[in-house]
């Protein structure tokens, strides 16, 4: 009973975590990326196409990563070089990419809504002998796909890079004091662009996880607002990688719980609302806590 839930929770966490890590780095660099959803959607579609065409999971993941990164770069250039508002541009990308995807499916593949080409190769599962039979631990460690391992490995890596490397320091400076960074001879806009490309690439992988990691096909609603849940996760994490991972896990858990609660008498639509409701509750609680803290210090 509990083991399948844990396993499902981790599976649901992976795309949120990937996108959230990307969004976190982007935010540290000075852009709140509302367009994560569009980069996820791009990655999901590209992964299915490349996987079906080549039969190679590695190529599919690479393609999703690059495609997401390109969407990220486009969005970043509009924000940093044309000084457009990042919220509007992010929303615009989310809407525009969704429309473009629908158009491509229709015009190139002649399908609408769902694209299910033959020969899609899914992400493999990594079973770990012995541990697989240990309760709970087996559900956590065994039978996960490589992207899940990658996503969790990226948490300490991101923490280290941000805190301890030249790259991370300059990104933090670019994000919080652009003028100062420039006065010291840095190029804050380039740092910012790089962080958005990273966010796009991570979101591309997140999309690939949804399409070739979970269901094996593409659907235009496949991302289901997970780009926005990722946004909530890194806000919850206050730019800290481990806290952000905790937020992603929380939302992943309720996603899994929601799936298991379906068909148990509660209307499905209400149950499906659960993860999103939790996002609102968590962010509200966070806001109240912030207010109390700033109130007591003044």
């Amino acid at each position: 009973m509990i083991d399948p839930l844990i396993h499902a929770a981790l599976l649901m966490t992976t795309p949120i975590l990937l996108a959230a890590i990307g969004g976190l780095v982007n935010r540290v660099g000075g852009i709140v990326n509302i367009g994560l959803e569009s980069m996820m959607l791009t990655g999901a579609l590209v992964a299915v196409i490349v996987s079906a065409d080549t039969g190679s999971v590695v190529l599919a993941l690479l393609a999703a990563l690059v495609a997401g990164g390109i969407v990220g770069l486009l969005m970043s250039l509009v924000v940093t070089r044309l000084a457009a508002n990042e919220i509007i541009v992010g929303l615009g990308f989310s809407v525009a990419v969704a429309g473009l995807v629908r158009f491509l499916l229709k015009s190139v593949y002649g399908v609408s809504g769902t694209f299910n080409p033959p020969g899609v190769v899914m992400l493999p599962r990594i079973d770990i002998p012995v541990i697989a039979d240990v309760p709970i631990l087996g559900a956590i460690l065994s039978g996960q796909d490589p992207l899940t391992w990658f996503a969790w490995a990226m948490v300490p890596v991101t923490a280290f890079v941000l805190a301890r490397t030249r790259l991370g320091l300059r990104l933090r400076a670019a994000g919080s004091a652009e003028m100062t960074a420039r006065a010291l001879g840095l190029d804050p806009l380039a740092s910012r662009d790089a962080s958005t490309v990273f966010a796009g690439a991570m979101s591309g992988l997140a999309g690939a996880h949804l399409s070739i990691g979970v269901v094996g096909l593409f659907n235009e609603g496949i991302t289901g607002g997970r780009g926005f849940i990722a946004l909530a996760a890194f806000y919850f994490g206050r730019n800290r990688p481990w806290r952000t991972a905790l937020g992603a896990l929380l939302f992943g858990f309720f996603e899994a719980l929601q799936i298991r609660l379906q068909g148990r008498g509660v209307p499905a639509e209400l149950v499906q609302m659960l993860p999103y409701l939790i996002v609102i509750l968590v962010l509200t609680g966070l806001g109240l806590a912030n207010r109390r803290r700033s109130g007591s210090s003044s």
Binding site: L167, L169, R172, G175, A181, L184, G185
Partner: protein, 510 residues
Amino acid sequence: MSAPASRTRIGARAIVRRFGPVIANDGIDFAAAPGTIHAIVGGNGAGKSTLMRILQGVDRPDDGSVILDDREVRLTAPADAFARGIGMVHQEFMLVDELTLLENLILAREPVHAGGVIDRRKALAEAERVAAMAGVTLDWQMRVADAPVHIRQILEILRLLYRGADVLILDEPTAVLAPTQVRELIGLMRRLKAEGRTILFISHKLDEVMNAADSITVIRRGRAITTVLPGETSKAKLSEMMVGEPVELPLVHPAAPHAGVPVLAIDTLVARDGRGLPRLGPITLNLYPGEIVGIAGVAGNGQDELAAAAAGLGEIDAGSIRMDGRDITRARTGSFRDLGIAYLSADRAGDGLCLSASIRDNFIAGSEHAPAFSKSGLLRLRAIHEGARRALDTLSVRYGAMGDPVKSLSGGNQQRVAIAREFERKPRILIAAQPTRGVDIAGIAFIHRQIVAFRDAGGAVLLISEELDEILSLSDRIVGLYGGRITGELDRSDASVERVGRLMLGEKAA
């Protein structure tokens, strides 16, 4: 670093810089020897900041040149100046609040291991090295956001040392410091000088200049008037050289003697600045109808706080403000205005005007509920337009269209819009803080006439200005402000540059 043989580490030779018809630098010469503290003093608009921009490579002279190590050079960019060892600490600090002191120190010049991982041990060792050089100790892991302002300033100086600068330009460095911190800063400057570094100390606080500098160049109206040694001069002589002779403006007639009750009575008032530091008081000052009281003082001696308090914007700790005998100390800003106190702010872009809003909207700001301009919650656009046009024409404001943003106007015309707005309310008291800052000569004369006309019609004016000329030519009474306290009062007939200068420098009136 610098060639020890050079006689001039940094200097200027006949530097000229024009902006249209305005000549900001009109042939400036100075020379700072290596290993000295060289002060550059001058009033607002004397041309100090233009000169600094040129020395830093941000701006280029139209004529003349920068001298480095006895040779004429052309600085092409700030990076060029920096490569030649010139670094500057601006009044606005260039620090990243979110980062630690150490991270700010090394930012853009990080010592790294392979793979770009920051070598923390080396960074800390370097930090300790520059700190020891300057004779200070810092908590390097503290975030800048949590660091007090004098620590931030020291960090800025240490960063210049870390990056290898040996000429340090400090722009009004003591403006943000408390007196004990000023002493510490001067100590730090002396230690750096002993290290062989050259310091350009831009200031208009003559106490500190006399105390710290090895030589002093006085700049007035774009010209270097003279360079003197502190031992050869005095604060009074310096201030006289900074100000020059007052321009005679024969438009002020002695006002009638004070009639009975003050319209504004400030009693043992104590106020803080925006950072919460005590800056003003206790001071007691009465303002009578039909007079202009000029507040003379060097910037940062409590003028801003006095203006804010009198306009109902201040952080008041103690004491009271009464208008017609009624206590308004704790009243809202709106009440001050409704009672008839008008305010021309020294900070036009901040709280004087809304620069991005239209001329029309600025004109009615604060009066948008007045029956003349609104009816049942809707603005009466035609009435507003007519009212604004009439008022602006009266003040000869030159503008394109009423809907243009105020920032499209020149400084002088912006100030006229502010005056039009304030006078439309038919005030009885005018708080005029630096009313002609950034205004050209013709505009200055016009604004002065407006202030005098207001006084002649029975209004009371509190005139706060760093321009001694302005104080001397307009005021019926002159009150000196120094260190937040009143140093003395002079009647118009007794006032002279020397006597007012002494009041500004904290010496009691004889």
